[in-house]
């Protein structure tokens, strides 16, 4: 078969050569060039499209990895070192009360009725924890750092991640066992360095993640929390009278405001004691 074909092909090419001589028909260069050009063009267009699409898909996959979605509700599951706990939302304590939190810094549990303003605030001084926890309930990420271990350039890096960034706040947390701790409601990640890539991953995964914070749409702006003079952090451990983790509203019927008397224990300025 093969040899037959070959013979035929040879014959035909010879014949074609002859006939072209005889019929003065030149090789169809025009057709050949057109064919190659069309093929090259089509190949280039396809190659371009393919390259574009695969690059776009890669970029999207990289972003989608940390972007909460119906298929990927909690992207922080992919971040090494994140601690998760379930907390009941909506439990309030009075400005005069403290909560015996189970974590340091805490990332859920009962909290003050006034949420710390989280409209992209860098708090220069440590803030009362009970207010900070409430902001987590509103979808904020709280970046806490140990002031003895983070300062200068690393601190500037953290400030950039919080300053003016909605639903983000930064504050020192004296006695923190690691240089940096990130908190979102029910989530925490402690890292050694401000350059750790997991910081941005944590923020992207959990800040205002509709699947993980309890009060969708809640505000970071506040009308009862004084940004410029926030209630201060308390170094001493809470005493025996502190509200337990499963406490909150129900336990404080006795401590409520008197009817008709505007409470002088305004949540804005009253430090916990």
């Amino acid at each position: 078969m093969t040899s037959g074909k070959k013979t035929k092909a040879t014959r035909s090419s010879v014949a074609a050569a002859r006939s072209s001589v005889v019929a003065k028909k030149p090789k169809p260069w025009g057709t050949i060039i057109a064919v190659i050009a069309v093929l090259a063009l089509a190949g280039t267009v396809f190659g371009y499209a393919y390259a574009q699409i695969s690059e776009k898909n890669q970029r999207e996959a990289a972003l989608a990895k940390w972007n909460p979605s119906e298929e990927n509700k909690d992207p922080s599951d992919q971040i090494q070192g994140v601690v998760k706990k379930d907390y009941k939302a909506g439990k309030h304590v009075q400005p005069t009360q403290r909560v015996a939190y189970d974590q340091s810094p805490p990332f859920g549990g009962p909290h003050d009725g006034a949420w710390a303003n989280c409209t992209g605030i860098v708090y220069p001084k440590a803030v009362r924890t009970e207010n900070m926890v409430h902001a987590l309930e509103h979808g904020a990420v709280w970046i806490a750092y140990n002031p003895d271990r983070i300062s200068g350039e690393p601190l500037d890096k953290l400030k950039k991640k919080a300053d003016g960034q909605q639903y983000t706040m930064l504050s020192p947390y004296p006695g923190l066992d690691k240089p940096i701790a990130l908190q979102a409601w029910g989530h925490q990640l402690k890292v050694e360095s401000a350059d750790d890539e997991r910081i941005d991953q944590f923020i992207q995964s959990l800040r205002r993640n509709q699947y993980t914070y309890p009060e969708i749409g809640a505000a970071c702006d506040s009308n009862t929390f004084d940004i410029d003079n926030p209630p201060p952090f308390v170094v001493e451990a809470p005493g025996a009278d502190a509200v337990p983790m499963d406490g909150g509203t129900e336990d404080q019927a006795e401590t409520g405001n008197q009817p008709g008397v505007p409470s002088d224990a305004a949540p804005t300025t009253q430090p916990s004691s």
Partner: protein
């Protein structure tokens, strides 16, 4: 001999040209296929006018707006920081949620509220309709009447605070079955997620309001 040769050569050329043309068309087609996306091809289907998604979103937006009105009144009138804070929280949160819901309705090409003024049609089970303020006045469960709102505006001091809390508690409770139904039956995950979240956050806020009412020596509305 030369004739057949010529014929063969023509046939070969034609075959090559056709093959290349087909190949080129396939490559271009594949490229076009990669580059274009049909409009709406990757977005989920738009819910229909009678869907739970549209009904819940329209009705809950209207329900929320009255809550925002009452909260605004309280924010302006109260002297109690706890009430002022609660009012601000309710107002800002619900306004944000209304923004979400109206955004969806706009994207779906649906009106912001039910066109014929009826509510709750999207909830089939009649058990959810049971409310004194339901059918007759056209108000959804938990909503305050115009008279009640006028009364609220006329009060002052602790009386105002208590009545605000009572109305707002009933408002939250009245909206709960809608949120519950939406969380179970809406088609779009984003609607279900918001409805479920409302149900949870408003029920804990309701507990807080019950306590505030008790602290002021009052009881919830019957």
């Amino acid at each position: 001999m030369s004739d057949t040769g010529q014929q063969r050569s023509v046939t070969t050329t034609r075959a090559v040209v056709v093959t290349v043309a087909v190949l080129a068309v396939l490559l271009l087609g594949a490229a076009v296929g990669l580059l274009i996306k049909l409009p709406g091809a990757d977005s989920s289907a738009t819910p229909g006018r009678d869907s739970v998604d549209v009904g819940f979103t329209q009705d809950m937006a209207v329900h929320h707006l009255q809550g925002i009105t009452m909260a605004n009144t309280a924010r302006d009138k109260t002297a109690d920081p706890a009430i002022r804070q609660l009012a601000f929280d309710i107002e800002s949160t619900q306004l944000e949620q209304v923004g979400r819901m109206k955004g969806w309705l706009t994207l779906w090409g649906m009106p912001e509220q039910s066109v014929d003024g009826t509510h709750m049609k999207w909830m089939d089970s009649s058990s959810h309709h049971s409310s004194s303020t339901g059918g007759t006045t056209g108000l959804m469960p938990g909503m305050a009447t115009s008279e009640e709102l006028a009364k609220l505006r006329s009060l002052a001091g602790t009386e105002f605070d208590v009545y605000f809390l009572q109305l707002m508690l009933r408002h939250h409770q009245g909206g709960a079955p809608m949120a519950e139904y939406g969380a179970k039956h809406a088609g779009a995950p984003v609607v279900r997620t918001l409805a479920e979240n409302m149900l949870k956050s408003q029920s804990s806020e309701g507990e807080y309001m019950k306590q505030l009412i008790a602290e002021r020596g009052a009881t919830p509305l019957p």
